[in-house]
């Protein structure tokens, strides 16, 4: 049933928000979502605003708690973990070695230089500062972040510069699973092309990517498959080839 390079196996995933302080209103966002993704895949989430694309991505990172169903992911060591059941230490371990997440906005830490922000995922898995910074520098250069900015905190950078720092930080660790939330939203054409190349290289290297892309050209350039989500209706998810 499972293919040897299966990386993500989501079944009957439900997510609803219960807003206690707003009259206990229930917002069902994901209903019975199921899909699989393998090494070398770039699964693109599509659907209108409010369909739950970002919610699904956040569930895959353990940032949102699933309300029902299972989210099984395969770690670098081959072990499967269900994020819907995992304890906090398991999720933290998966984030260190298996799942990286590129959010739309960088949550910048005051006073930490850009080079160290990007190198941090490597440092967390024990790589020495020197080689980690060298790889960070190479990636920043490729993403056209000017070298004069590397020693500064990204807190004061422009939106596009921050996004490229975020992308570098997401890609650097070589995590087998990479989640991308509109990684090219505030980039110019040249830098979008660099990100497309990075995604294709990640695919070729056997990483498994799941992403949201509003730019059609980027989506067509990177997608291997599409998962269409619809706003809160039963059986909302349909997988198309």
């Amino acid at each position: 049933m499972t293919t040897p390079d299966l990386m993500i196996d989501v079944r009957a995933l439900h997510k609803q928000f219960l807003l206690h302080n707003q009259g206990g209103i229930r917002l069902p966002v994901l209903q019975a979502v199921g899909f699989q993704a393998s090494a070398g895949d770039c699964l693109v989430l599509s659907g209108p605003s409010g369909a739950g694309k970002s919610t699904l991505l956040r569930c895959l990172y353990g940032n949102y708690l699933a309300s029902g169903g299972s989210i099984r992911v395969r770690a670098a060591d081959g072990q499967w973990t269900d994020l819907a059941e995992a304890d906090e230490q398991q999720v933290l371990a998966l984030r260190r070695g298996t799942i990286a997440y590129v959010s739309q906005f960088l949550r910048a830490i005051p006073r930490v230089p850009t080079l160290d922000v990007v190198a941090e995922p490597l440092r967390q898995v024990g790589e020495a500062a020197g080689p980690a910074r060298e790889r960070a520098a190479a990636l920043l250069a490729r993403l056209n972040v000017p070298e004069r900015l590397w020693a500064l905190s990204p807190a004061t950078f422009s939106g596009g510069e921050q996004q490229r720092v975020n992308i570098a930080r997401g890609f650097i660790g070589g995590h087998p699973i990479l989640l991308l939330d509109e990684p090219t939203a505030s980039l110019d054409a040249g830098n979008r092309a660099v990100v497309v190349d990075l995604i294709r290289e990640a695919r070729a290297a056997g990483r498994c990517l799941v992403g949201i892309f509003h730019d059609d050209a980027v989506r067509d350039a990177v997608a291997t498959r599409t998962l269409a989500l619809q706003a809160a209706a039963p059986e909302a998810a349909a997988l198309t080839a």
Binding site: H20, N63, L65, E88, Q89, R107
Partner: protein
């Protein structure tokens, strides 16, 4: 899987049978920062005092990896053993620096005190260690002989942290470490704490009412209300997808910048 450094089980300590903390359980791992958030009177500070045995627990237990050989129930140690642990392997950073410092003696003496308590006597080496820590905390080493009373609030807080870290503790407990500081000084202190925790692989429990502090510092967060933990989880999950009504209220009350 790494071993827990600290394990708290069903810990209860009240001051009058009502106010305090009740039935608190959690594990803390080396290199991990745990924030305890909640409003005034929710039992956050009592929890810190009970788990560090400054206020003896009424029930429940606290287990600590005393000799790096596994968890030991602190109740089985003598008072002297627990005090040694508190002086060497633990740090305690208080909200008001003047409660954690000796205000009459010099900054250098404040830092050196814990080293002397574990037997170091060489004057030159003590001065050198103190100067090194001042430098690390971004305080001019020329102020080694000044009394803390002559320092600004932010410097006093950094001095208090240096005083605690000089013996290389593995566990640091902080009670509202940034609450009494100006916003600009807060950011600097938080950033220093982040670096220290990473560089020294410290485990820390930080009590705060400020969720932004938790977001910046802590991998995991406990939310307390009325003496009990109402929600616990990864900090980003607690802040982005809060489950308990009280946590939802706290998160929705954050001012948007």
């Amino acid at each position: 899987m790494t071993r827990a450094l600290l394990s708290v089980r069903n810990l209860t300590r009240t001051w009058d049978g009502v106010h305090g903390c009740r039935g608190v359980s959690f594990d803390l791992y080396p290199g991990e920062v745990l924030c305890v958030v909640g409003e005034s009177g929710s039992g956050k500070s009592t929890l810190l005092q009970a788990l560090s045995w400054q206020a003896e627990p009424e029930s429940g237990s606290v287990w600590y990896d005393v000799d790096r050989a596994g968890l030991v129930d602190l109740a089985t140690l003598t008072g002297a053993q627990r005090r040694l642990l508190a002086r060497t392997d633990w740090g305690f950073v208080r909200q008001h620096a003047r409660d954690g410092l000796r205000m009459q003696v010099s900054a250098g003496a404040n830092i050196a005190e814990r080293l002397m308590a574990v037997g170091q006597r060489h004057y030159g080496a003590l001065r050198e260690a103190a100067a090194g820590w001042l430098d690390r905390m971004e305080i001019d080493a020329a102020r080694l002989d000044d009394a803390p009373a002559a320092f600004s609030g932010g410097m006093q807080q950094r001095l208090q942290i240096a005083r605690n870290l000089v013996t290389h503790p593995r566990l640091v407990l902080m009670d509202e470490p940034t609450a009494s500081l100006d916003v600009s000084v807060q950011a600097r202190l938080l950033d220093l704490l982040r670096q220290l925790v990473t560089d020294l692989r410290l485990a820390a429990i930080v009590v705060t009412h400020d969720l932004a502090v938790a977001r910046l510092l802590a991998q995991r967060t406990l939310v307390m209300r009325g003496g009990s933990v109402v929600e616990s989880g990864l900090t980003d999950q607690i802040l982005d997808d809060p489950q308990h009504p009280y946590t939802q209220l706290l998160v929705s009350s954050i001012l948007q910048s």
